[in-house]
């Protein structure tokens, strides 16, 4: 009975995310699920866009995390390789640490996913001025806050407790990064109402919401048809 319920739920989620995918995820932001479902009714399998396929269920969620870590690792690798003007020794040291953490996260997911891992994604950082401290730190803040909200929002979609624990091990490190980056921008802004709700709890984001934001930095076409979301 439980299994049946779970299978149905998965089908339902797959249906929803498939609908989103067919519209191309970059364009659906703001659209209601109901209207998407209607549009999807007129689509068949042949309309699926090509792209790097994330898989389904937990595999899809791990690939989703892997994609975000790829983005962060690529960003900090560039930040450290082409440092902005007047960077301090402490900033270099912190940003290098963060780069290594993100590479560790990225390569961990790649190894853990094995044959199920998506390919390396091509990133688009054309909107970032790597010579500018403001631009780099603002982007770092956006990525870290996004990462925290992404892991928090995807947690309950993970079925395997071991994967959930791993996501938990990573998300608090992302939150430590987020707090540090925010403090570098303006000391004392490690938390704020922009990321917290009225109970001082972090605002989480669904995979759909996250990809609508992160998509601007990913050049490679991706196929998140099987990715659970809500």
């Amino acid at each position: 009975m439980e299994k049946l319920t779970y299978a149905e739920e998965k089908k339902e989620k797959a249906f929803l995310s498939a609908s989103l995918q067919r519209r191309s995820f970059l364009k659906y932001a703001g659209a209601g699920a109901a209207s998407i479902a209607l549009l999807a009714a007129g689509c068949d399998k042949d309309d699926e866009i090509n792209g790097v396929y994330f898989g389904t269920g937990d595999i899809a969620i791990l690939n989703y995390a892997y994609a975000l870590e790829q983005l962060e690792a690529a960003f900090y690798t560039q930040v450290v390789a082409t440092q902005y003007a007047s960077i301090t020794a402490m900033e270099t040291s912190y940003l290098t640490d963060i780069r290594d953490h993100e590479i560790a996260h990225r390569e961990f997911f790649k190894a853990a996913l094995g044959v199920n891992a998506i390919a390396a994604l091509e990133v688009n950082f054309s909107s970032i001025n790597f010579n500018s401290r403001d631009s780099v730190l603002a982007t770092a803040k956006a990525f870290e806050d996004l990462g925290v909200s992404a892991y928090n929002g995807a947690g309950f979609l993970i079925q395997n407790p071991e994967y959930l624990t791993l996501a938990g091990k990573i998300v608090s490190v992302e939150a430590r990064h987020a707090a540090l980056i925010r403090d570098l921008i303006s000391n004392g802004t490690f938390v704020g109402t922009d990321v917290l709700d009225g109970y001082a709890m972090e605002k989480s984001r669904s995979p759909s919401e996250v990809l609508a934001i992160a998509g601007a930095y990913i050049k490679t076409a991706i196929n998140v048809e099987g990715l659970p979301t809500y």
């Binding site: 953490h101 590479i103 961990f108 947690g155 079925q159 430590r176 707090a179 709700d197």
Partner: protein, 284 residues
């Protein structure tokens, strides 16, 4: 057609049905509807099934146990910061070099912990445990906790790093529970943000060589410079193997990921028993 089938039909036709019938989405933000999970037992089976989809497979008793465990830690932090930021202590700590920025950061954290307590109490309703009496000297381990600013910051950091590990350890027992797991995760990352800032504050104070080298993330095991009294809080944080992947074998930039970075990149969970052993000395 029975009720179950009707609901299934509605779900098939209208995927948003679940969303509307269950207050789960609003519940995460709005405490008044969050409490409705308590009423699950009173619902007909079909509705109970829908609620289980939203709230996961755990029993109310199990969920309440996790929430009360969290509440214990939030009570501890909330009362601790309230005491450390009152006018008397604030004036004293200012004479010991507490900056205006530091004072506001502590007030900010105090406010967050109060909100966390309010949230958990509201969720638990009558099932909420009463606030225990605390001994912030930990039976004499930190005798100057409210008279020495650096001791106060040390204990604050210890609490935050413990909180991060405590929430993390409870996540697997809430698998699939959209409302409660998501709430726990949303509390968890805020504790991590606090921990990050407190570690920077202590680094700035440079009370010891270890403290002056400390980072917002945990390097190895006890990297705090506080002493062996907090070793248990950092036990196991030096793990470099995650799900069979040796992190130090990963190629980074110009060489493998260092042992330090490998331990920093993953925060480790603590069991409830380990957390309670850490917290018990702080209970009066």
């Amino acid at each position: 057609m029975n009720l179950l089938n009707i609901i299934k039909e509605i779900e098939t036709v209208d995927p948003e049905f679940n969303e509307r019938i269950s207050p789960r989405r609003a519940a995460i933000k709005n405490i008044t509807s969050f409490g409705s999970k308590i009423a699950i037992a009173a619902l007909p089976m079909a509705f109970a099934t829908l609620f289980k989809k939203a709230y996961g497979q755990q029993s109310t008793a199990d969920v309440n146990a996790v929430l009360n465990f969290a509440l214990t830690l939030e009570y501890l932090e909330s009362e601790f910061y309230a005491a450390g930021t009152n006018s008397t202590r604030s004036a004293l700590f200012t004479t010991q070099g507490q900056s205006t920025a530091a004072a506001s950061a502590l007030l900010r954290i105090a406010g967050d912990e109060n909100a966390h307590v309010a949230f958990l109490k509201s969720v638990l309703g009558t099932a909420a445990i009463a606030k225990p009496a605390f001994d912030f000297t930990a039976k004499g381990t930190f005798p100057t906790v409210f008279t020495n600013y650096d001791t106060f910051l040390a204990v604050a950091q210890a609490f935050e790093d413990t909180g991060v590990r405590a929430y993390k350890g409870q996540a697997p027992s809430l698998v699939g529970n959209k409302v409660v797991l998501t709430a726990a995760l949303n509390l968890h990352s805020v504790e991590a943000r606090h921990a990050s800032h407190l570690r920077q504050m202590r680094r700035g104070r440079a009370t010891s060589i270890a403290a002056s080298a400390m980072k917002p993330w945990i390097t190895g095991t006890n990297d705090t410079g506080i002493g062996t009294s907090v070793d248990a809080i950092y036990a196991g944080e030096n793990n470099v193997s995650q799900s069979g992947v040796t992190i130090t074998s990963i190629m980074g930039v110009g060489g493998n990921i260092s042992t330090n970075a490998a331990t920093e990149a993953f925060d480790e969970p603590l069991t409830k028993a380990a957390v309670l052993a850490i917290v018990t000395p702080f209970l009066a």
